[in-house]
């Protein structure tokens, strides 16, 4: 009985995996096809040549390098600042004793229930009031702190025995010194998880850039790609080439860092 259910589990997972994988596979192959091959019926599976012409054409039609640079810039800034604020907040909630600590943390956690879409109007208003509408800063500022990542890190910090903290304090360590010399190095794998998840989210962010960016040269990849697909609607093979460029960095990143993402979430994020 056990064996049978095992077989079914694997069968199901294999089918589901193929379904997930197929669009990417199709996108990748199509990026090399000619215009005729893409639209051919019945479909042509393997392109006649693996020439990079579609990539070249796509890059000529829209400033993908610029988008790429913007995406990287936004990612580095927002991930960097979010990581810093999350570490500090997690440490405060985990180790420092101040009045209202638990209440405040519960309040913050409950705010995770609010979907981002609900905050779009207020964030939009704020961005306009700050005068950073249609700049890269509008993409960074709303993403400089995260309750979720704070929560993951706090959970890890909570597992570090209190004796380590007091030992360090008695040995002359300040809170600040302890945090960076002991806590953060120990939290390396949780931090990796947080940074990776955050980088993925930042890279894939689409809706918010669409609202606050109108100038072409300030667009990030996903939003730029969307504009490009609308404009290059008649050239699906070029769309596929552009899409491949957008998803490739994150796929590579994911392949390398898979074990941190899975491990970190399982350890820090989803218990309790």
């Amino acid at each position: 009985m056990k064996k049978v259910s095992r077989v079914f589990t694997y069968l199901f997972l294999t089918v589901a995996g193929l379904i997930m994988f197929f669009p990417f596979f199709w996108m990748f192959l199509s990026a090399f096809k000619t215009s005729a091959e893409v639209t051919a019926s019945p479909p042509v599976w393997v392109p006649s040549s693996f020439s990079l012409i579609n990539f070249q054409l796509a890059f000529e039609k829209a400033p993908f390098l610029r988008y790429f640079f913007n995406s990287i810039l936004v990612m580095v800034l927002s991930v960097g600042v979010t990581t810093l604020t999350s570490i500090l907040a997690a440490f405060a909630f985990s180790r420092l004793r101040f009045p209202g600590r638990k209440t405040l943390f519960t309040l913050l956690l409950s705010m995770m229930m609010i979907p981002f879409e609900m905050l779009i109007i207020t964030n939009y208003r704020t961005v306009i009031d700050l005068g950073i509408y249609d700049t890269v800063w509008a993409l960074v500022l709303p993403f400089t702190s995260s309750i979720f990542y704070t929560y993951i890190l706090k959970n890890f910090f909570d597992t570090v025995p209190e004796s380590l903290y007091w030992s360090a304090r008695i040995d002359g360590s300040s809170n600040w010194h302890y945090l960076w010399k002991v806590m953060v190095p120990m939290a390396r794998s949780s931090l990796t998880t947080v940074i990776l998840l955050n980088a993925l989210a930042s890279w894939n962010s689409f809706m918010w850039p669409m609202y606050v960016i109108i100038t072409d040269s300030n667009r990030t990849l996903p939003w730029g790609l969307q504009v490009f697909t609308t404009e290059a609607g008649s050239n699906p093979e070029q769309q596929m080439a552009a899409s491949t460029v957008v998803v490739l960095p994150m796929i590579i990143l994911f392949l390398f860092a898979r074990k941190y993402i899975v491990g970190g979430v399982a350890r820090g994020g989803l218990k309790g």
């Binding site: 004796s163 007091w166 030992s167 360090a168 008695i170 002991v182 120990m186």
Partner: protein, 352 residues
């Protein structure tokens, strides 16, 4: 450095962890804070290190009042039960850590660490990480880390509890050796009476936050201040035989016979008491004042451990194996002067 604790009290909400504790720790002494769990000994240690502030009273290091001084300024070394080593640092970096915070140059740090590592015998392990060490080795590293900054006071919080029995013996001798080499005033917290008796210059025995007795180890054993102290020390535990003093003799509960010892002179009539006798204080004597029934006998080699009965009370005694006790028979016993006490049955107050 000598340490003076002056009427220290610690309250957590309405729970009193330490009640009016006063003591003086002499320079270079190794002092044990001994007591069952929850007696306030760790709380006291944490007040010495500055981790928690006392609710009342004062702590002096030599003549300086350090009561409110933060832990990093006190110059104490602390060894935790779980060692609290930094898992991401090597043994060398762990030992160097206290010097790093004092901004001692790296070369000097390493030299000092190597020296102290030699003292505690971990000099061959400097490149390893704590996860690759045995419990005893981790303990040594923790001691090295506590000692490297030349602490004025070394605090050890149940440092041996996580070790297995054999290692515990070895490490307690090590701690004693290192302490005598460095001559640092040390406070050792433990609930293990054997440990305390073996290594300390002086023992402060506590119960429910109150000092029961502050004395030399042997004195604690030989002349306990009250029933609690007598019960706490000694293995097997002291025999307590409940009874009443009448006409200058002791009547054990449920026994017809009377026990007459010089010890009972001047004790108040009709007072319910415990006659407390250590297992090794008995000897078989034909005209001995105590008559007991032999219940069981266990051979232990050079002597026998006998379970005996007086009235309703069973008790244990070490008897010379040459005597050859027979279960079911009665035997006449005498007691030595050492190890025989009379305590009030209710209050545990020492009467004789």
């Amino acid at each position: 450095m000598h340490v003076t604790l002056d009427h220290i009290t610690k309250k957590f909400d309405d729970f009193t962890a330490v009640q009016d504790f006063s003591a003086r720790l002499e320079d270079g002494e190794l002092i044990c804070l001994l007591g069952p769990s929850g007696c306030g000994k760790s709380t006291l240690l944490n007040m010495l290190s500055g981790i928690i502030p006392p609710s009342g009273g004062h702590i002096y290091f030599d003549e300086d009042d350090v009561t409110m001084m933060p832990p990093e300024k006190r110059g104490v070394g602390l060894v935790f039960q779980n060692y609290a080593l930094y898992p991401h640092l090597t043994v060398l970096d762990n030992i160097c850590f206290p010097l790093e915070t004092q901004h001692v140059p790296k070369k000097e740090r390493v030299e000092q660490a190597q020296e102290i590592a030699k003292l505690v015998h971990v000099d061959t392990l400097l490149k390893r990480r704590p996860g690759e060490l045995s419990g005893g080795q981790q303990q040594r590293v923790a001691i090295a880390r506590a000692l490297i900054k030349n602490p004025r006071l070394l605090l050890l919080d149940e440092p041996l509890s996580n070790l297995d029995a054999r290692l515990r013996l070895e490490m307690r001798e090590e701690i004693r050796r290192i302490q005598q080499r460095t001559k640092v005033t040390s406070v050792f917290v433990t609930h293990d009476q054997e440990e305390a008796l073996a290594i300390s210059d002086r023992i402060i025995l506590m119960k429910s936050g109150v000092v029961q007795q502050n004395d030399l180890p042997q004195r604690l054993y030989d002349s306990p201040a009250n029933q609690f102290v007598a019960n706490f020390l000694g293995n097997p535990p002291i025999n307590n035989i409940p009874g009443v003093i009448r006409n200058g003799g002791f009547h054990a509960q449920g026994a017809d016979s009377e026990i007459r010892l010089p010890l009972f002179e001047g004790l108040p009539e009709g007072r319910p008491v415990h006659l407390s006798i250590r297992a090794e204080a008995f000897s078989v004597e034909k005209d001995g004042p105590i008559e007991a029934q032999v219940e069981r006998v266990y051979t232990m080699g050079k002597e026998e451990m006998a379970c005996l009965r007086i009235g309703a009370t069973e008790f244990r005694a070490y008897i010379d194996s040459e005597v050859g006790l027979t279960p079911g028979r009665n035997v006449q016993l005498n007691v030595r002067k050492r190890g025989v006490f009379v305590f009030d049955l209710e209050s545990g107050e020492k009467l004789a």
